[in-house]
């Protein structure tokens, strides 16, 4: 069969719709959009929004896998829709849903408040060991010191890891992969002095010990942050610290 030119080919998107002011329950709406080999799911959604149905709501910004705002479930898999090519699904229909494990505000938009609250709780920023004025210069770091945490600093807060994590789905109090990976990123930073303050939250029953190491967070992470590694390594560090406090109670933590 001779393939039709791109302009004539189409692909179907079954899109999750939830309009809280009008409907009690969500529904799926089917849209048939032009198929282009270089289009991603986000392009198809933008086409729907611009040309077919302006009421469709979703988040997006950079279109290049940096901002982390266009994460959605694509055929049941958490994906950045700016990196999910239509050609990988064609000619089958594509089911687009908001990221699972989060409350849905509208259509494909989820509520991120829980995650933002957890970031604050975990103090995911540098708490310097000493204060310095600008004239005293920068906080220096060797390439080796940078290498210990660089991978965990690549997180773009896209929430795919939370959507992939069954533990978070079952127990929303779980701090979750990205928040713990970011806490670990700052704990490992040689310029930071707040690991002891974070430890109480990180090592709580809602923290690292809630993780059963399924590893789905790392599998779906578009930036290869490997949050599962951050959590398991935090478990090892916390266990060592606990043994030190038991065996050497007089020692410095």
């Amino acid at each position: 069969m001779i393939p039709m030119p791109n302009e004539q080919r189409t692909i179907t998107l079954d899109v999750f719709r939830y309009l809280p002011e009008k409907e009690e329950q969500p529904r799926f709406q089917t849209y048939t959009v032009p198929y282009r080999e270089d289009w991603v799911v986000l392009d198809a959604l933008n086409h729907i929004k611009d040309q077919m149905d302006g009421t469709l709501s979703y988040r997006w910004s950079c279109r290049m896998g940096v901002c982390g705002s266009c994460g959605m479930m694509v055929n049941g898999e958490p994906k950045l829709t700016c990196a999910a090519f239509l050609k990988d699904y064609y000619p089958n229909p594509i089911r687009v849903e908001p990221l699972t494990n989060f409350p849905v505000i509208r259509d494909l938009i989820i509520n991120l408040e829980d995650f933002l609250h957890k970031l604050k709780e975990l103090k995911t920023w540098i708490v310097p060991k000493e204060t310095k004025t600008v004239s005293q210069g920068e906080f220096l770091q060797t390439p080796e010191q940078l290498a210990t945490f660089k991978q965990f600093s690549m997180c773009i807060n896209c929430m795919l890891c939370y959507a992939a994590c069954p533990v978070y789905g079952i127990e929303p109090k779980f701090l979750g992969p990205a928040a713990i990976a970011l806490a670990q990123r700052y704990n490992l930073d040689s310029r930071d002095a707040a690991s002891a303050e974070r430890a109480e939250t990180v090592a709580s029953s809602e923290g690292i010990w809630e993780c059963t190491f399924i590893g789905e967070c790392s599998r779906v992470c578009p930036k290869h942050v490997d949050p599962a590694a951050a959590i398991q390594q935090a478990k090892v560090i916390n266990t060592k610290e606990w043994w030190k406090s038991v065996l050497l109670p007089w020692g410095k933590k």
């Binding site: 049941g76 509208r106 059963t212």
Partner: protein
């Protein structure tokens, strides 16, 4: 004004939706077989030392068809549990050499090597006695 949010329930079949999660569940369930076999062996060792009556009983049990089936199933699960755990080891232990991470294959190989050494030690020193 805050609108009403929709909370999607977690289906009871969540662990069947994805091959990777199913593999994880099998790994977790394999622990029960490992534990059951370990308890059986410990009880056996304890009781065998208590007299020949128990010894005969255990010999009968060990030679029975159902026990052999259980032992084979346990062996499969132990191998599955060990191999998947060894493959996950580089995620838990991420040793570094300066700026570079040590190749995960080396960490996995070290685990297999240690397994081999311990198994040989058991074969050479424990079993003959």
């Amino acid at each position: 004004m805050k609108t009403k949010e929709y909370i999607r329930p977690m289906p009871a079949t969540w662990w069947l939706h994805n091959r990777h999660v199913l593999q994880f569940m099998i790994r977790e369930m394999s622990s029960f077989f490992v534990l059951a076999f370990a308890i059986f062996l410990l009880v056996l060792l304890y009781k065998v030392n208590q007299g020949s009556g128990f010894r005969d009983f255990y010999v009968t049990v060990l030679q029975s068809g159902w026990f052999r089936a259980f032992a084979w199933i346990t062996l499969i699960f132990v191998l599955y549990h060990s191999i998947t755990s060894f493959n996950a080891a580089p995620t838990i232990m991420a040793p570094r050499w300066g700026e570079d991470k040590i190749d995960p294959r080396i960490v996995i190989a070290a685990n297999y090597g240690l397994w081999l050494i311990v198994s040989l030690a058991v074969l050479i020193f424990v079993l003959p006695s």
